[in-house]
């Protein structure tokens, strides 16, 4: 039973990375964070329902089926959250990683001027504005940008940062 649950969990993870690998080659890259949220919430719900169905059909008691599927769903969400926080967020938005890969692309090396030609303050800010617009964090009316909602995934991180500074000034 135990091995069976672990196998199901691994199967869902393989499914997640398979879907991401195929999907993220086709979607607008600025909407990728939204898609990740959909995969996290949708995948968590789907893994719960699917596991519950499998366990009930396999003859498990109702209580054990609920417990087993909740556990699998929780572990799935936990794994994806770890991946998003520790790997994906850096690939998606880290300036340091971008600079590093730009240098790595040029085997003969790259000068500071060449680097700043392709990646500079304007590029960095424009990408973030575009990402916010696609995700619906901000709106654009003419030349003006305004905030849409008060709480977002970015503001949560910002508030956490402020909390850390409050306790460890």
């Amino acid at each position: 039973m135990d091995i069976f649950l672990v196998s199901l969990f691994l199967l869902y993870l393989i499914f997640y990375f398979g879907v991401q690998s195929l999907l993220f080659r086709t979607i607008d890259r600025y909407a990728s964070v939204l898609w990740q949220m959909k995969l996290l919430i949708g995948g968590g719900t789907l893994s719960f329902l699917l596991t519950f169905l499998i366990l009930v059909l396999d003859g498990w008691s109702f209580l054990n089926s609920i417990f087993g599927s909740s556990l699998i769903s929780f572990l799935y969400s936990l794994s994806i959250s770890i991946y998003l926080l520790s790997v994906y967020s850096y690939i998606e938005s880290s300036i340091t990683v971008k600079i590093f890969t730009l240098v790595g692309e040029k085997t003969e090396g790259i000068s500071r001027r060449q680097l700043l030609k392709v990646y500079n303050l304007r590029v960095i800010v424009k990408r973030r504005i575009r990402r916010f617009l696609v995700q619906g964090e901000i709106t654009q009316k003419g030349k003006w940008y305004a905030r849409v909602s008060g709480t977002s995934i970015f503001s949560v991180r910002e508030r956490l940062n402020k909390l850390i500074l409050f306790f460890f000034p």
């Binding site: 993220f24 890259r29 990728s32 556990l71 890969t101 960095i124 800010v125 940008y145 940062n161 850390i164």
Partner: protein, 138 residues
Amino acid sequence: MIGVYVFGFFVHSWLIFSHVSILLVFPADTTPLPFMSVLYFFLMSAFICALYQPIAFAGAQTPAAIILTALEKKPKLTKQNIFSLFNEKLLIHKRIEDLIQVGILKAADGTFELTAKGKAVYFLIVLSTKFLGVTVGG
């Protein structure tokens, strides 16, 4: 910094494991779940480590957070207003210096190149982005 992560990992791992090894059993027939317990313990520990990460950047706001905070203070901003919030020296040059200090980048004859360690890291990044179907955004 790595020492903090390793220490945090083991302290929390021990705390979680001491609870999880008791908790993870099927409620109806109390069948133990040893493999799930171990998995749960590792994932919870890794999650706590992932949550520790903002501490490393405490005091330094991300560009995304700077834009959102500015839009909270002033309801409307133009693109020029947003550009003026940033300083290229802090945004790019400081990061280049950090990469050199870590030892994955080197400056030679006015150009930047990857060190041997940097090439290994770069290879890992390229491999993982190809596998995951994503590109480095920045």
